[in-house]
């Protein structure tokens, strides 16, 4: 098992190297001199030359890449052109917001998607199945940010049930400890703040959770159908077990394996889907930060954000693969 994990980590190296190389090259392709961008158009040629020298921009590309890689390994991604704040610090404060939102979205997706998929499979071609599958098809066909805007219009503007944006109301004063506000409010035993955090989470989590919800419902349904057609299920039924028992004890366990994979894979996708969702809800996470970086042409921010999210994405996929080995003893890893 340990050898398998070590091997997978080694396999990852060329991919991680490729990601950094690609992002580095992307930045080289952007027209314009970074030194001029940093100093502004009114800088004198001497100033520009001095900064080029200081930033190492006069060195050959491979040297620049290695230097950048060296800084990346030490968690130094440079500073934002606009705010001057180090990229790594910004990521550290914003990542909990994105992670909390992604977790909430995934909870929505699993809590609604798995039962929907099971019921759809058990009542195959019934009206519940048809409604669940049509809705899930609609869910993957919709632009999530559009759905988010509609939800805000309905629940925040018209019905005034939920807040339209942000993580906390103005009236709530919560001193962060971990950056995960749900956890922080509980740690401080501030239940009013907890309620406020939950209220702010509902709409963005529903929005971000739509696509994984639709996909999880479909995968659960197909996995369940596959299992239900197998011999041991027929045996279980033949020996007169109650249908509920057959479904819950015999079928579900085996059907959930592919679901776990999809949950893991979708989690990585959530982190990037957050870019659009966070923009709609002014959620102070990585996504809205990258969006602002795009708007203001703050390239270090876009570069740092893209590298970070891509690496996290790769690592999550690795975790999913490894968890497979624990969950399914039939799989042998050499």
């Amino acid at each position: 098992m340990l050898r398998y994990i070590a091997k997978r980590l080694l396999d990852l190296l060329p991919v991680l190297l490729g990601i950094t190389l690609l992002v580095f090259l992307f930045l080289q392709l952007i027209p314009g001199d970074p030194a001029v961008v940093l100093l502004g158009q009114r800088a004198t040629p001497d100033q520009v030359e001095a900064l080029r020298e200081r930033l190492g921009l006069n060195q050959p590309l491979p040297v620049q890449y290695l230097a950048w890689l060296g800084r990346l390994i030490q968690f130094d991604l440079g500073r934002s052109i606009i705010s001057g704040i180090p990229i790594t610090r910004e990521i550290a404060t914003r990542f909990p917001a994105t992670f909390e939102l992604s977790l909430a979205a995934m909870m929505v997706a699993v809590v609604l998607g798995v039962p929907a998929g099971i019921i759809a499979a058990v009542r195959k071609n019934g009206w519940i199945d048809n409604i669940a599958m049509s809705t899930s098809l609609l869910g993957v066909s919709m632009p999530v940010y559009w759905l988010g805007l509609l939800l805000v219009y309905l629940f925040a503007v018209n019905l005034q049930l939920l807040p339209p944006s942000g993580r906390l109301g103005v009236a709530t004063n919560l001193q962060p400890i971990t950056g995960f506000y749900l956890l922080d409010s509980l740690l401080r035993l501030d239940f009013r703040a907890f309620g406020d955090v939950v209220a702010h989470l509902i709409l963005p989590a529903l929005t971000l959770g739509t696509i994984p919800l639709a996909i999880i419902a479909r995968i659960t349904r197909s996995a369940m159908l596959e299992v239900l057609s197998q011999d041991y299920i027929r045996t279980a039924r033949a020996k007169g077990l109650m249908e509920r028992w057959v479904i819950n004890k015999h079928a579900l366990k085996n059907a959930l394996l592919p679901v776990v994979t999809i949950v893991g894979l979708q989690f990585g996708t959530l982190l990037s889907g957050a870019i659009l969702t966070e923009t709609i809800f002014s959620w102070p996470g990585l996504g809205s930060w990258i969006y602002n970086g795009i708007l203001t042409r703050d390239y270090p921010v876009v570069q740092g954000g893209v590298v970070f999210v891509a690496i996290v994405f790769v690592l999550i996929n690795l975790l999913v693969d490894i968890s497979y080995a624990f969950l399914d003893p039939r799989i042998q890893y050499k």
């Binding site: 952007i30 027209p31 098809l137 940010y145 990037s272 659009l276 996929n317």
Partner: protein, 293 residues
Amino acid sequence: METLPARPVVRQSSFQKARKRFLRSISARIGLFLTVAIVLLAILAPVLRPFDPATARDFAARLSPPSVTYPFGTDGLGRDMLSLVWYGIRISLLVSLVSVGLGLIIGTFLGLIAGYFRGWSERMISWLTDILLSFPSILLAIAVATVIGPSLQSVMIAVAVVQIPIFIRLTRSMVLSLREQGFVQTARAFGAKPERIIFNHILPASLAPLVVQATLAIGTATLEAAGLGFLGLGAKPPTPELGTLLSDSFTNGYALSAPWTIILPGLMITLIVLAFNLLGDGLRDSIDPRANR
């Protein structure tokens, strides 16, 4: 002695069988109908247009709600929403078709090379594929579009880059299994040149799954292109690309006070994606009935 009348032998080609299976599925028929309708709308936009979105601006009627003159209201520049979205279908469809076309051609070509020649070219191409697939798709598209700068062309390229690794994977895996099959081995034994084997034998045999994948890809490409437009990386206003229309309304702050400026564009994106998803699913099921999940 009486002979029994011979039962007529109905031979059906695999194409006929697939067509029969396709037409039996309700969702596939809905998908086909929607796709044809959308393509017709896109083609007919300049003929049937109620207003010209580029020039017809009624500043006095800015952000006016749906009325008889403007059945779907007007946007912040006083342009008719219906005409904007109608033209938007045209632009979004064009962007998706071009980017999927690019992705299909480049991806298939690289996949054929990797699968047929193996060796270092396969290793290089697989490495590239792994890297591209390790980016979440919208993130990759954002990176590419940021580098090229916001424009419709850059959206096409960005979305194509996202599609390329998917087509490489698909083609390569098909070539790997096809190259060991009898008809390819025979061709090789007769001394056919690699390019002849690839283009005359392997490519035609892998066409059906590629068409299915391309159809489904048009759906995701439409979503990705609209997403880039929404992030401000696509066409600049006043070009009525559907994602740009949503972005326009959102960034200028009238999405919630004038909801008619977002409802129709978003609905149209959903319909386009839905149409191609249904069509693609239907095509896949009709070609390979066992793939029905």
